[in-house]
Subunit: 333 residues, 4 copies
């Protein structure tokens, strides 16, 4: 049983069905009927008008977002473990034409206004130093923590005061919504987020992410940059279909709840081993190499996470029957 | 009935089936079993060792290829109507970090060594002028013509003599192979092509293109640039599945033959209206606005192509029953 | 005697003296007293408030200007013979991060609103084609013609109507002012120019060009981009000193008049050989290779300009004694 | 008396004289006689064949060097206080098209092989993380320390073992040579340096830096990139003249010795206040704000360096008469 990554998970049957249903001739690129429904569907979800562009990867969504919020000569404040800094092979630098990512420290991958302020204070406001133009948060974080609405609002307030734009990498935004119980609106634009990379691929889609723009002034430029990056798929209807099927009946939320529940199940009997509170679908455990070896010998697959620790990632399709045996195996270590 | 674009066509049932079959947990990105089979499958097809990277769009394939063959301070010779120059919103400039596309003229979108030589002769070999580093051909061309192996070989020879790399935009490579009867090898590396963008999306896939590298020295860089462009899909197995299903039993060639046949059928009764010989799946006809209006009134959809002309694009799924009525309608104009 | 290029000319004694006078400790970069006087000096000259940044080359001035007026995904309309397109080794593409230069034809290197309109009409306003965002004029042109104020105003009006920014490459702006008798204001912002690259190096300075910004909103970004391009010299006072000395007593205008006068002198006896009217400091003559050989044998140096033609460039230091013998030699061919 | 920066210092009389002597017509750009002598002059100095390109700023020299050694998708290991990271407004990212600068810690701005190895060990060699391609040292460092030849050789060895290129920012290379007593060769290519940014502007020139290429394979690309960055000055002879005059009679070394001597003089009576050993022309002192105020009240100008410390920079023109009073004033605090 694989607990490597939610990227390894299968595509949900409803999503696969939606893809098949989309298989009829329609207008190319994003001129099709399904793509045309996205803005309305997401506007309902976010309780205000938004514009949504589909893209196929979270890296593209993040990098596009940053290119809209930060000029080539600017900087982006983010956590030192942020995916954009640690795992995207320089895509933000490529899309922004050389803006600099400025890593900050913070417990469990989280930023707060104090951290940002003290990092900013180290930048001399002269012509020689790169000046930050934006902040990028990840929610849920790379360590599986979720921001509370008040935490985001505090960061958003800080950003407005300092003239910084605010991006949210929401590769696991669904898990954060599911955990916090807050609304998508509270966790995004109401807290000051300008652009959200709303991920669906890790949550049961095949290759569909939503770039959610809360600032209509950026839409035309966003479309140009997407095309120019080779991300305007010619048969875009198959991506749009996934997003619509995900929103339908709050399927995205059900999936995230299932994944979170599976993570809680794994964590339940291992409280004393947890590196971080479990607030999404990732469980980080202190486990010796020998113990990890025993779990692997029992057929469980997962990544080591530095020395003496491992990461378990649950997904939308992990039910009680999948995780209970692993939970027992951990408890029995 | 739509004859707008092969991008509007549906996904072939066998491709859809392959996508569904791929829907099981596997390693993320391109570490999965299906992606691992691509090099061997394409090496067989091309009768030599090749390395293949999947991407989701032809624009990404082309722009990646050019970024591997031309430095930021160089130029790329191409036809003035080439897709890379006319229809990719500056993606080549983005990926190459500012290399210049240098348009050449040529009948039916075709280049030849003489045209290239005379364009090159206009570039002074000093420090002030951008120096060409590569040539990009489109096969079949934007006007639906196919290169003969000898034509490609002549261009390839010219490129080697002048130290130019050679890229082929093969968004409709399958149609060119089908028309010419030559082998994929003859139409690519045997003629001197360094990188081929081999398109499958227009030919019945959902979102799958193969970047075929004939020079192994470029592979590591190609992988980096793909990731950095946000084109390393996390569930890459669904792209690989499409490519494998396309190669299986030469499905790609059957599709292309069907599309070419449909185009020939449309052209058959309209010899005197043809702007270009029909050598792939596109038919360009001299048709007055009034005549075009009559065809549209009969339910046919297609693009105008400048003044007094239209473009009809056939696809893998157009059978005799689809095109015969349109052929009659054209003959009856 | 060299008539290759005004770049080969010496530095004027008054400029050299100003450089020497600047040789005392002062604040680094552009924090010195001399740099601090530039805005006022140029504001007087242009009869309105302007901000001026010094740079060391015309290529840097032009490329910086374009990077301020055109996004990476946009295009710049210019003459096909414009220096930015023909002689800057891709600097505009580098500074703009890949914007596309779109060459237009036009007599003697000149553009007009009709030419621009018909070039624009060839761009489909869709997502696939690069959309122009700016126009760049050269005044005096690469063929030695000068724009009249009304011609610039017509282009400026066109640009405003179409939402295009307007840049002027004024490497020989001084010669255009001298020829036309119009004011610097009339030939720039009053005609709709947003940024002027005002050249002094060809006109007797050592390495000093003024980037003249008529739009204060662009100043902060311009300063950043200059620094980031490595063009914020640490001892900037030596550049500022040149510009101030050039403006003093309208030395720049005297120099340009002298150069223009020398060009007129050369042209006077060769009316029937002129390729273009002489409206600045360049003379293009129809001269057979054999005739060119005779002139060279007499000690004159100059460039061939295509087949059967040559270019003679005069400079601020060419007096009657320098050009009279050459004028006779040409007349005697 | 100013001890802000060696950038504020005047141009040495011999350099000014050389500039004046260069003031005669010659070929434009770098086709002049003086530019033509640079390779030979520097080859003598470095005891092997080198190619030298003049540029006007250290930022341009550094950024060009990095663009030659690191691809856009790569990284450059450097000290966290390196000028390229802290004071060049993102020029390296601009010139390299988005490569990432990876800051390392180290006493006094120095790197060593262990530091580099442990930083490298934190980079996972997968497709998701930016991989370092080069190391950049600063000699003398930003804290005024000089590398010994053996230290550079150890880093050079490490670089070769790991496939990393090696750049040296030598804005104060002269001071490092003067302090260490080692030869330019020992401190550069013999230790494994691929490209050296050899600074002269801080050392008494007006605006002249030498990009010293030890690898001839990079020369053509270097020339292209310099032109494309707008750094090929049209009257390059005035830059070449400065470099030649600096090399003549080892003037560069005399200047550096004078500046170092002045720094030693300042440090002599303040041993207990030194933040770093004085190994070049910079003196960092622990001085309370109140003490700093007293020095300033006596007419000395300098920068604060964090809390409770100041930086004094000496220059080629500071003689005993200039520094003795300040030395006394410091001793008397």
């Amino acid at each position: 049983m694989r607990f490597f990554s939610d990227n390894a998970a299968p595509v949900a049957p409803a999503i696969m069905a939606a893809i098949e249903q989309a298989n009829a001739p329609d207008t190319a690129y994003d001129g099709d009927t399904l793509s045309g429904r996205l803005d309305a569907a997401f506007s309902t979800l976010f309780e205000r008008e938004v514009v949504v562009l589909w893209v196929s990867t979270g890296t593209a969504a993040n990098a596009l977002a940053l290119s809209l919020l930060c000029p080539p000569y600017g900087g982006v404040l983010c956590h030192e473990y942020a995916h954009i800094l640690a795992d995207e092979c320089g895509a933000p630098e490529f899309y922004t034409h050389g803006a600099r990512l400025m890593g900050c420290t913070g417990q469990g991958g989280k930023l707060d206004a104090d951290t940002l302020a003290s990092r900013l204070a180290r930048v001399r406001p002269n012509i020689h130093q790169v000046q930050p133009h934006a902040v990028s948060l990840t929610n849920a974080t790379e360590s599986g923590l979720s921001y509370r609405p008040s935490e985001i609002a505090a960061i958003g307030k800080f950003c407005r005061e300092r003239g910084l734009a605010l991006h949210m990498d929401g590769a696991r935004f669904a898990n954060a919504v599911a955990f916090s119980g807050a609304s998508p609106a509270e966790l995004s634009w109401q807290g000051g987020v300008d652009i959200l990379s709303f991920g669906f691929t890790k949550n049961g889609a095949m290759n569909a992410e939503a770039l959610v723009l809360f600032n209509p002034a950026l839409v035309e430029e966003a479309r140009r940059r997407r095309k120019r990056a080779g991300h305007l798929l010619s048969k875009g209807r198959f991506i749009a279909a996934q997003l619509l099927a995900m929103l339908e009946g709050d399927r995205w939320l059900d999936h995230a709840r299932a994944a979170n529940r599976a993570a809680q199940r794994l964590a339940a009997g291992a409280e004393d081993r947890l590196l971080h509170p479990v607030e999404a679908n990732e469980v980080f455990l202190r486990v010796s190499p020998e113990e990890a070896g025993r779990l692997r010998a029992s057929g469980y697959e997962f990544y080591d996470w530095g020395e003496g620790a491992v990461r378990l990632v649950t997904s939308w399709h992990h039910g009680e029957a999948d995780v209970a045996p692993l939970a027992h195996a951990i408890a029995a270590l």
